[in-house]
Amino acid sequence: MRSLKTIIKQRKSTSQKIVFTLAFILFSIYTLYVLSFFVFAIVCALKQDNDTYMMDKIAVKLFSVSKPNFKNFTEAFDQLQVVLQGFSFWKLTWNSLWRTITSAVLSVMTSAMVCYILVFYKSKFTKMIYFVGLFVAILPLYGSLGASYRLMENLGLINNPLNMIVSISLYGGYFFYMYSFFKTLSWQYAEAAFLDGAGHFKTFTRVMFPMALPSVSALFIMTFINGWNDYESTLLYMNEYPNLSYAVYAYSENQKYVANMPGLFAGVIITMLPALILYLCFQNTIMEKVHLGGLKG
């Protein structure tokens, strides 16, 4: 007796095979397109010096490199320090690290705690909070950036590490993603813990949160990467605590006056590395644990 999969396989028509082959070709072209930017960055970062870069640019030969110069990477460290006066590469990395980790932990943990209550401690009050969340997500109000800046300024939170408290947001940290994940957890585990004498807090920390950890980790990594890459809010609220992304922005702006393009590309690669490594390590977690359901009131 033929198996179900064999029957399905035999029924795959030629047109279907053509479509899948075409999709494969298009995917391959797209992959080459995306990866070409990274190859381009590496090749340009290895150019002998800025003159070689300029000559290759005029001759339209930027994709070639004859004598690779790895010193550009060490020079990039020094140049970042020149562009952002007084901030060494390590200081910038430290700013990126503490700002991103603090913000991501606060944001994702708050989101997990809020969603846990909204999903498992249903009452008129928690339902109202969820509906307000829906309202906020679906009908956002624009232009509050000015008022927000004024408030932060009045509270002394501009260029102040305490402004991380903004991350303890009711509807932040991928709220709906987190909510839809907690909805898939079974409350029976918590009930068993209660029967064993555990309190609400212990049940959350020892039973329910560990079960949510894979999805929470995925959202943490996504929040971390977004935070690591954020330079616009640094420019606005934390320019005395510049991070690496901001350094690349400032560096690329500065290139108009201090030209060392291979150094810029080396700096770009250095900045990308931490997020890239984190992504390569946890890509399966991100790909498989993040999901979003419907948004219905």
Partner: protein
């Protein structure tokens, strides 16, 4: 009677513990929401009708409709219609995202779901641009399409005249649009793929036995099954319709016809590229944006959720 008198304090204690736990978890986020969302938006509304009172101290303001007169000026041709340009660009970005970006994301997710050859690599590469800071990615993109880059190389080989697309309108905005579209499939693809993986295999197998081809499977089985995710993406995108900014700061700072509404507000607050900031005008523009986007979001929400919403 005695049982009742014993259980009541226990129940009260349990209720107290439950409420204390809820307050502990929700307390600070709610205060935060009241301060940084409710207060900020109310203040933003008031700021739309205020101007600074010069010489009367920091934060001293007067109530006026002057901001709206300024907006009228900004809409006029004599000021190059910067707000019209920003509105047009913002809407183009949104429409392109929904009409072009989302269908492509659905198709990509479908082929990844069907485990096309090399699907894991494709999936990872598609998300890759999302993990790179746009300040870095824009530097790479600008140099790739700039003089001496790949675009220059290809056009030279084809015997066509090359001009840096980012230095003039309208090619500058079209280039940014292409950048956003080509690097913007990642997040939607993950969400859609994850939704597809939860579709019942028996349904798709039964359809295939009945002779369903890939397109019919996608349209009649997969798409209806993942509709809650698709509709959520559409509704959330529409809700942020006027907030779509794109990487304008890193690309052009709004010059060469690339201004978007959201970036204009950012520029008014930060003063980047102009050296001047105007928080009050930013609030007034934001208020008008809210009034415009409100009905659009309601209509789109009604369309994608259909009658079920009622």
């Amino acid at each position: 009677m005695s049982t009742k008198s014993k259980s009541t304090p226990m129940k009260r204690k349990a209720l107290f513990q439950r409420r204390a736990f809820i307050c502990c978890f929700l307390g600070f986020p709610i205060i935060n929401f009241l301060v940084f969302y409710v207060y900020v938006n109310l203040d933003s509304f008031l700021m739309a009708f205020q101007r600074p009172l010069l010489g009367a101290g920091y934060n001293a303001t007067r109530f006026t409709t002057e901001n709206f007169s300024r907006i009228k000026d900004l809409l006029s041709v004599s000021n190059d219609g910067i707000l019209i340009q920003a509105l047009k660009n913002t809407l183009v970005m949104y429409v392109a995202g929904i009409i072009i970006g989302l269908p492509i994301s659905i198709l990509m997710s479908y082929f990844v779901y069907k485990k096309i050859l090399g699907y894991k690599v494709f999936r990872s590469v598609t998300y890759l641009p999302n993990i790179i800071t746009s300040s870095a990615l824009v530097v790479l993109f600008k140099n790739q399409i700039g003089p001496g880059g790949v675009l220059n190389m290809v056009m030279d080989k084809m015997g066509m005249k090359y001009l840096d697309p980012i230095t003039k309108a309208p090619s500058a905005f079209n280039t940014i649009l292409f950048y956003c579209l080509s690097f913007g499939f990642g997040v939607n693809m993950i969400l859609l793929n994850s939704a597809m993986l939860s579709v019942n295999d028996e349904m798709t197998e039964a359809a295939q036995i009945d002779g369903c081809n890939w397109f019919q499977e996608l349209i009649y089985i997969i798409l209806p099954s993942i509709w809650p995710t698709v509709s959520t993406i559409i509704v959330l995108s529409t809700a942020g319709i006027l907030g779509t900014t794109g990487p304008i700061l890193a690309f052009t700072k709004g010059t060469t016809g690339t201004m978007t509404l959201s970036f204009y507000i950012y520029q008014l607050v930060s003063g980047v590229g102009t050296g001047n900031n105007d928080l009050y005008l930013a609030s007034a523009i934001g208020l008008l944006m809210t009034l415009v986007s409100f009905p659009i979001t309601l209509i789109v929400r009604r369309v994608v959720y259909g009658k079920e919403q009622d």
